[in-house]
């Protein structure tokens, strides 16, 4: 039976999409062999981390889920430092897409989900970038990108999946159709994705980069392990003893991490589970201003390029008072306290 199946094994290229990143696991092993493993403090500033770890032309991947638990301060700094020609993993890229693609930092993208902000509407600025042909794309699905991170995290060159067979998405991907050597069914092989650099926002990290995440992981456990370089932005720094007191909760171990930056409210205007809700007013303001290209450039200047740091951005957006409202919204305290709260 097995022999017969092996004879029938076929490999068929279904995707004509570009493979932006090399899935060669032996090259990756050589990289990881050289990777610094020392348990040393990695706390730094956002500008230093971005200057050292994010380069023009890099392929970047952003943790969280679009406007949920995203490393906004790091994304702003990439724009502020004028990075260009970046590749982007579009694994539900929503507000992160709005920032990086809207500001023109990206020239190629593995698309699973871009330009939309889910139920909120569409980002005109990033849509213009795609429609003008400025961004080379390969199409994927969210599961395909999550499993591509997982393959890289596992150190294997691909994972097989049953999703997407027969779709145009996979024709515009770099997936390959294979036959299962055990059962003979058709599968799509999706290649390992090792991003040059990833940035992930977490609830707690120690100075070495051991991280805890509350709520859904999205794909960040695998992404942290797949990335060649990793910037952690954290709501708060905690002592190493807090990590060691409950090692079950370590989502990302220190040896995956290159820099730790402490950014309170660092997912704003996105949601941070158990901390603060998304600022829907501010996200609506982004969507509206993007309708006019010149007005959007002015908006980016005001809120990002000419703003010294993330704390100043938070001030521009209403500061502590606004954040307090969003905290109450997240914890659903308005009914108990009175008042309508942030919408």
């Amino acid at each position: 039976m097995a022999e017969a199946v092996i004879e029938r094994m076929a490999v068929r290229r279904v995707g004509r999409g570009r493979l932006f990143m090399d899935p060669n696991v032996d090259k990756a092993r050589e990289y990881f062999r050289q990777r610094d493993r020392r348990l040393v403090p990695k706390v730094t500033t956002v500008p230093e981390a971005v200057a050292r770890l994010v380069h023009d032309g890099d392929y970047v991947a952003v943790g969280g889920f679009g406007a949920d638990r995203i490393p906004t301060a790091v994304l702003h700094e990439i724009v502020r430092q004028g990075r260009k020609d970046l590749g982007l993993s579009g694994h539900t890229a929503t507000h992160d897409c709005q920032i990086l693609i809207g500001a023109g930092c990206v020239n190629r993208c593995d698309v699973a989900y871009v330009i939309g902000l889910e139920a909120r509407g569409l980002s005109r600025a990033s849509r213009r970038q795609f429609e003008s042909g400025k961004i080379a794309v390969a199409e994927w699905t969210n599961a395909a990108l999550a499993w591509r991170y997982r393959a890289a995290a596992m150190g294997v060159p691909f994972l097989p999946m049953r999703s997407g067979l027969g779709t145009d998405t996979m024709k515009e991907s770099a997936a390959v159709e294979i036959t299962c050597p055990f059962t003979g069914i058709k599968l799509l092989a999706v290649p390992a994705l090792f991003p040059d650099v990833a940035m992930i926002h977490v609830h707690r990290a120690d100075v070495y980069g051991n991280c805890q995440i509350d709520g859904i992981m999205v794909a960040d456990d695998d992404l942290a392990r797949a990335a060649k370089r990793l910037i952690i932005s954290t709501e708060r720094l905690v002592p190493e003893s807090a990590i060691r007191a409950d090692p079950t909760r370590t989502a990302i171990p220190y040896f995956c991490v290159d820099a730790v930056v402490e950014v309170p409210y660092g997912s704003y205007p996105g949601n941070m589970p158990y901390e603060y809700f998304s600022d829907e007013d501010h996200l609506r303001q982004w969507l509206e201003v993007e309708e006019d290209a010149a007005a959007f450039e002015h908006f980016l200047d005001k809120y990002i390029r000419n703003t010294p740091d993330f704390a100043a951005y938070l001030e521009l957006c209403g500061g502590i008072k606004r954040l307090q409202e969003l905290r109450r919204t997240e914890l659903m305290l308005h009914a108990a306290i009175g008042g309508g709260g942030a919408k």
């Binding site: 679009g66 699973a112 794309v137 994927w140 794909a219």
Partner: protein
């Protein structure tokens, strides 16, 4: 007693909710599908297990989520897991229902949410892309849609197959390698409820909404619809369904306010 007044969105949500059986699992998005699942939980399917693609499992939804990854999707949940975990459950055959939307849909239930135009590198209109939709349509047992019906949306051929329906007809999903027994189940529009003909896998109207004529349904469709031999009138929302929908599911009228 006179029949209660309702809008199109309320009608679609109520009709969709009735197809969700108790003790089943569903991956839903935000908006109308989430409202349909919440309504089902508060009516005939109290043990319908709701999951969200970013990792939320079995929340006690306090309000409508805005994002399928926001904190509401695992509020007092049974698990806060991951994209890979939810998609693996779908691939393993554990997920019964999913709901999808899109810019275009054809007679085989193929859905386009990627682009309008012919060249993906330079699309006439860029749309968000698959997200998890292509995966859910591939892997969940029954795919449903809640959508307005018009000729722009119901087209003979979608510009791009993002989420696979029955591809080009009976047997095509299986030939492509998609898991057997999966595929589009119901399309709930503002005019009618559509199922799929067993022999051809083409769209087949099962019921037309009160006051909607056969001509009206066909006029708003860019291809020829099949009709079930016993086309009925869709049963309108009951006052109890409307009360729950308005008071408990969507009291801020985020979704039903669009009707």
């Amino acid at each position: 007693m006179s029949a209660p007044a309702y809008n199109r969105m309320e009608l679609m949500i109520c009709l969709a909710s009735r197809y969700l059986e108790d003790d089943r699992t569903a991956v839903v998005g935000t908006g109308a599908p989430c409202a349909a699942a919440m309504l089902a939980q508060k009516t005939a399917a109290p043990n319908l297990m709701v999951m969200f693609e970013a990792g939320g499992v079995g929340p006690i939804l306090p309000t409508m989520p805005i994002s399928v990854g926001d904190s509401r999707t695992f509020f007092r949940g049974l698990a806060a897991s991951s994209m890979a975990d939810i998609m693996s459950s779908c691939q393993r055959g554990m997920v019964d229902y999913t709901f999808l939307g899109g810019a275009q849909i054809d007679m085989y239930g193929n859905i386009n949410s990627t682009m309008i135009g012919g060249d993906i590198q330079r699309p006439k209109v860029r749309l968000p892309g698959s997200g998890g939709a292509g995966d859910l349509a591939s892997l969940c047992w029954r795919t449903m849609m809640i959508t307005p019906q018009d000729r722009r949306r119901f087209v003979p051929r979608v510009d791009f197959i993002t989420s696979p329906g029955y591809l080009d007809g009976a047997g095509a999903r299986e030939a492509a390698g998609l898991p057997p027994g999966t595929g589009p189940y119901k399309v709930i529009t503002d005019l009618c409820v559509i199922g799929f003909d067993e022999a051809t896998k083409r769209m087949r109207v099962e019921s037309a909404h009160p006051g909607v004529t056969r001509e009206q349904v066909q006029e708003n469709t860019g291809f020829e619809l099949l009709w079930a031999p016993d086309v009925k009138e869709s049963a309108p929302p009951t006052s109890e369904e409307l009360r729950i929908l308005r008071d408990e599911v969507d009291s801020l009228r985020y979704i039903i306010g669009r009707g």
